[in-house]
């Protein structure tokens, strides 16, 4: 059995006995060996003394050849019972006399190997000594002794050793057992305790020991460990009990809560369902209302637009001469129509403000100019009543960023109101000045009838006119001031009035000077909002003669031209404005044509401008990667150049019609009549699809576009149109009755040159004149380009 499987007690016993046995055995063997060696020495010494005596006493016998005497001498050895035999040998080794113990059968020892010496045989010691006479050896004496005495001694030793071993073992075992118990008992007890703890999981058991030293420490440490485990166990148990209690409590609470919550949830769900139903109904109602209003505005304003438009034309004598009474009638029609339009617009605006759908598009406003514009609108009224209109603007007012349309509306309402209630020859003043807190104040003071203090509160309430008679006398919608209040408040401003009856009133609005700019992107990145007008080309050519020829040819064909004689100049000009087309000479003095092209395409407004390369060197491959519409090798014929430009969608302005796209036949007729009256040819399309086809065929000089059309609408038209070569640079003026959202405005800002609300043709005409110069203007522009 290997030692590691044996119990501690046996291991210790075995170890002790083994070491003790080994030690004793070794000691005994050493002792016996020493005794034997000593005894052998003693034997040799004793025997040699006997031999010496025999030798001395035998000398004469040998000398005088008397064996009997020798034999007698030898026989004295019989006194030693261990001498087995003895003999005297002559000088030549001849046996002279011998002696043998009686029990040996008389055998004499053999001849000596050497005259002096001894050796041990298996059972005897043989010793020889020389016999000398007269200093010369005359023989040898040989004595053989048995080893019986040694044997018997050995036996005695063995007995003693065994006895010592037995006694020692017995004594050692007893002592060791007692000592071992002191060592093993605590360890075994500890082991048993650990076994008990581990098998029963009973941490209350303790090891008991009065041992000191390491064993005591082991036991104490073990007990300490058990203490700790027990403590922890108890703590754990307590914590678990607590936890269970808590969990039970919490569970009960939670169950209660859950039940409660479930009840609530059910109630909520029911309410939600109800609310959802309501919400759906409300949304539906709102949608219907919005739709209704949108339709209303469209349906009401479309015919009104025609009425106003034609009335204007007739009133202005553009469709034939009108007699003064007719003209008066037409003026009345116009006034009423404008009033009606205003009413419709106000109602719509009001509903939009109420619905929180009014959108503001702040931009930089020149207050003086804006006041001037409003004054102009109301000029006829003020003139009629000979009312003096004064404007005072605080020079420190500085920059104002607001929705100009809404500001105009506010001012118009205040001003028209003031004019209405100011008697003839009165005075109305408009004042704008700074107000603390980043605001500015717009005031309209009149010298009118004034308002009774008790009426002041009703002033800004919808449909509340101060008196019916007044309303009759002063044509008004009853919405103006209410709408104004709403608009101003929607822009985080305030309105107010102060008045004295008979003295006049002061209406004011306080608005933030810098409104927060809406997040709607107005300056979109489309190749769009260019100052459309003449189709203008940039000629990049270093050779003066060539340049002059190109400018002459293109101007004659009706294009506007600008020139650049170096790459640097060309890049600068291309960064400054968008051109409709570019011609590029590849051989320039300062830099390579390709680098110029790369720079133009890299940034600025001409990244997609059609470009025609005109050069002596034609390396088409090198230009790969940049948009190039054509390559022309010098010398270039004028027909090829113009054909190439036409192919790139570039046409000169002269002789091209204005394209009118509107689904309303009255509107189309109105436009046709009006454009004809001012000398523009026109083509009309009743739908956007037709408009696209006409635009491709006619290359119109400008487009007047309605937005709300069945099928493709105005936005879609613009999207397509701006991608065609002809549509890239053609000015588009949107003419619509649609109420535009901020998103609409954003899209149109990118694609259209102007947006004009329907309701007369005057503003449209102005915009058209801005973007499409008349033939006379064009001629002037052409000359200016040639001269540069």
């Amino acid at each position: 059995m290997p030692m590691r499987d044996v119990s501690l007690r046996r291991m210790l016993a075995t170890t002790t006995m083994a070491s003790l046995g080994t030690a004793l055995l070794l000691a005994s063997l050493a002792f016996v060996a020493y005794e034997l060696i000593t005894f052998r020495g003693t034997m040799v010494r004793t025997l040699s003394i006997q031999a010496e005596i025999v030798a001395r006493q035998s000398t004469s016998a040998l000398v005088f050849g008397d064996p009997e005497s020798g034999k007698a001498t030898l026989s004295a050895l019989g006194a030693d019972p261990h001498v087995v035999s003895a003999a005297l040998f002559g000088r030549n080794g001849t046996l002279f006399a011998s002696y043998a113990r009686a029990d040996t059968g008389g055998a004499a020892p053999g001849r000596p190997r050497s005259p002096q010496g001894h050796f041990f045989e298996r059972d005897r010691l043989v010793l020889s000594r020389p016999i000398t006479f007269d200093n010369a050896p005359i023989g040898t004496v040989v004595i053989e002794s048995d080893l019986d005495e040694m044997r018997s001694r050995l036996k005695r030793y063995a007995v003693i050793v065994v006895a010592v071993l037995i006694v020692s073992f017995a004594f050692a075992y007893g002592t060791a057992a007692r000592l071992q118990r002191a060592l093993t008992d605590p360890v075994l007890h500890l082991a048993a305790t650990a076994q008990a703890v581990s098998s029963r999981r009973d941490y209350t058991v303790r090891a008991v020991s009065d041992a000191r030293g390491e064993l005591g420490l082991l036991v104490r440490t073990f007990n300490d460990m058990l203490d700790q485990i027990q403590d922890r166990d108890a703590a754990l148990q307590r914590a678990r009990d607590d936890l269970e209690g808590q969990v039970a409590d919490r569970t009960r609470t939670l169950q209660g809560e859950i039940a409660e919550r479930k009840l609530l949830e059910d109630r909520l769900r029911a309410q939600n369902t109800e609310l959802e139903d309501q919400s759906r109904r409300v949304q539906e109602a709102t949608r219907l209302k919005s739709e209704f209003l949108a339709n209303m505005s469209h349906e009401l304003r479309t015919p009104l637009n025609a009425i106003i438009g034609f009335a204007e034309l007739m009133h202005d004598g553009k469709v034939g001469a009108v007699s003064p009474p007719h003209k008066e009638c037409l003026a009345d029609i116009l006034t009423s129509s404008h009033h009606l339009l205003q009413l419709i617009n106000d109602v719509l605006d009001l509903s939009k403000v109420e619905a929180g759908k009014m959108e503001f598009r702040p931009e930089r406003v020149e207050v003086a100019k804006l006041i001037g514009e409003v004054k102009d609108i109301l000029r006829s009224l003020s003139a009629k009543k000979r009312i003096e209109l004064a404007v005072e603007i605080d020079p420190a007012l500085g920059e104002v960023v607001l929705d100009p349309g809404k500001l105009k509306q506010v001012l118009y309402n205040f001003l028209s109101n003031a004019l209405k209630f100011t008697p003839e020859g009165g005075r109305v003043s408009v004042r704008a000045h700074l107000e603390p807190g980043g605001k500015f104040r717009l005031e309209v003071a009149d010298t009118g009838v004034g308002i009774r203090p008790e009426d002041l509160g009703r002033l800004f309430v919808e449909f509340q006119q101060l008196d019916a008679s007044a309303s009759k006398a002063h044509a008004g919608t009853g919405l103006g001031l209410a709408l104004t209040k709403r608009i101003v408040e929607a822009q985080e401003g305030t309105v107010g009035v102060s008045s004295e009856v008979g003295q006049g009133s002061v209406f004011h609005a306080v608005l933030p000077r810098l409104a927060r700019v809406a997040s709607v992107e107005t300056a979109a990145a489309l190749p769009s909002r260019r100052r459309a007008g003449r189709t203008t080309l940039l000629i990049i050519e270093d050779d003066a003669q060539e340049r002059a020829w190109l400018a002459e040819t293109l101007s004659s064909a009706g294009y506007g031209v600008e020139v650049a004689s170096t790459g640097k100049e060309a890049i600068e000009k291309s960064r400054r404005r968008a051109y409709d087309g570019i011609t590029l000479d590849l051989l320039l003095p300062d830099m390579g044509g390709w680098d110029v092209l790369k720079a133009i395409r890299a940034e600025g407004p001409n990244q997609a401008t059609p470009l025609v390369v005109v050069t002596v060197v034609v390396e088409k491959g090198v230009g790969a990667g940049y948009v190039i519409h054509d390559y022309l090798a010098k010398p270039v014929r004028s027909e090829d150049l113009l054909a190439s430009l036409r192919a790139a969608g570039l046409r000169p302005n002269a002789g091209r019609p204005v394209l009118v796209i509107d689904d309303d036949p009255q509107a189309r007729r109105l436009m046709e009549t009006m454009l004809h009256a001012i000398g523009y040819p026109s083509v009309e399309a009743a739908s956007a699809e037709e408009g696209l086809a006409l635009a491709a065929r006619e290359a119109p000089v400008a487009v007047i576009l309605d937005l709300a059309m069945p099928g493709m609408d105005g936005f879609e038209f613009l999207e397509h149109f701006r991608r065609t070569p002809a549509g890239r640079s053609t000015p588009v003026i949107v003419w619509t009755v649609k109420d535009l959202t901020a998103v609409d405005h954003g899209r149109l800002a990118a694609w259209a040159q102007a947006v004009v609300q329907k309701g007369g043709t005057q503003r449209l005409l102005e915009e058209l004149r801005t973007h499409v110069p008349l033939a006379a203007d064009e001629d002037r522009a052409g000359r200016a380009a040639e001269g540069s």
Binding site: Q57, T59, S60, A61, L62, V63, F64, G65, D66, S69, G90, R91, N92, T94, F133, D134
Partner: protein
């Protein structure tokens, strides 16, 4: 013949092997042994310190009468020293020729004059040796007596005492003691 051959061979071998044994008188020769004995006696006998021959630095052995030893005695004693005295052998034809000697061997030829010789040597420290019958009994000290082929000794301690000679017990125990001890 066949029976007798191994015995004869054994005897021959035995005889051969004994040729070198000095102390074997039967083979080496009786007188050779006796000559050796004469010399050996000197070792076992103590002479008085005032023995006259000692002053001359010699140990004298005298052969009186016919010399029976032949060359043996001279061979044996040649160059020998006893008690730091050089051994000298003298031969005397008649008792009158006798000088001071340590040992005197009286040959059988002097048998007739024995009493005279003994008379003459009376009182001197002289060891007398002879072969004659009853020599020791008649007043001699040592007699060679043949026992078969072995030489044996008769010693008269009284005679030795009278000659002031001390004979070693070692020698005495080998010899037959004769003569009345009281006489000495």
């Amino acid at each position: 013949m066949v029976k007798g051959t191994p015995k004869a061979v054994a005897l021959l071998l035995l005889a051969g092997s004994m040729l070198g044994a000095e102390s074997d008188p039967g083979v080496i020769g009786e007188y050779h042994v006796k000559a050796a004995f004469l010399y050996n006696f000197a070792k076992y006998v103590q002479w008085p310190a005032d023995a006259p021959t000692a002053r001359a630095g010699t140990f004298v052995i005298t052969i009186l009468g016919n010399d029976p030893f032949g060359p043996s005695l001279d061979e044996i004693l040649k160059g020998k020293v006893i008690d730091r005295l050089k051994v000298v052998v003298r031969r005397a034809g008649s008792p009158e020729d006798l000088g001071a000697s340590h040992i005197v061997f009286i040959s059988d030829s002097q048998r007739g004059q024995l009493p005279e010789i003994l008379q003459r040597l009376e009182g001197t420290p002289t060891l007398t040796v002879a072969e004659m019958d009853h020599f020791a009994e008649r007043g001699g000290v040592i007699r060679f007596r043949m026992d078969g082929d072995r030489v044996r000794l008769d010693i008269n301690p009284g005679a030795a005492a009278r000659a002031r000679l001390k004979i070693s017990s070692e020698l005495l125990k080998l010899a037959r003691i004769v003569g009345p001890a009281a006489e000495g």
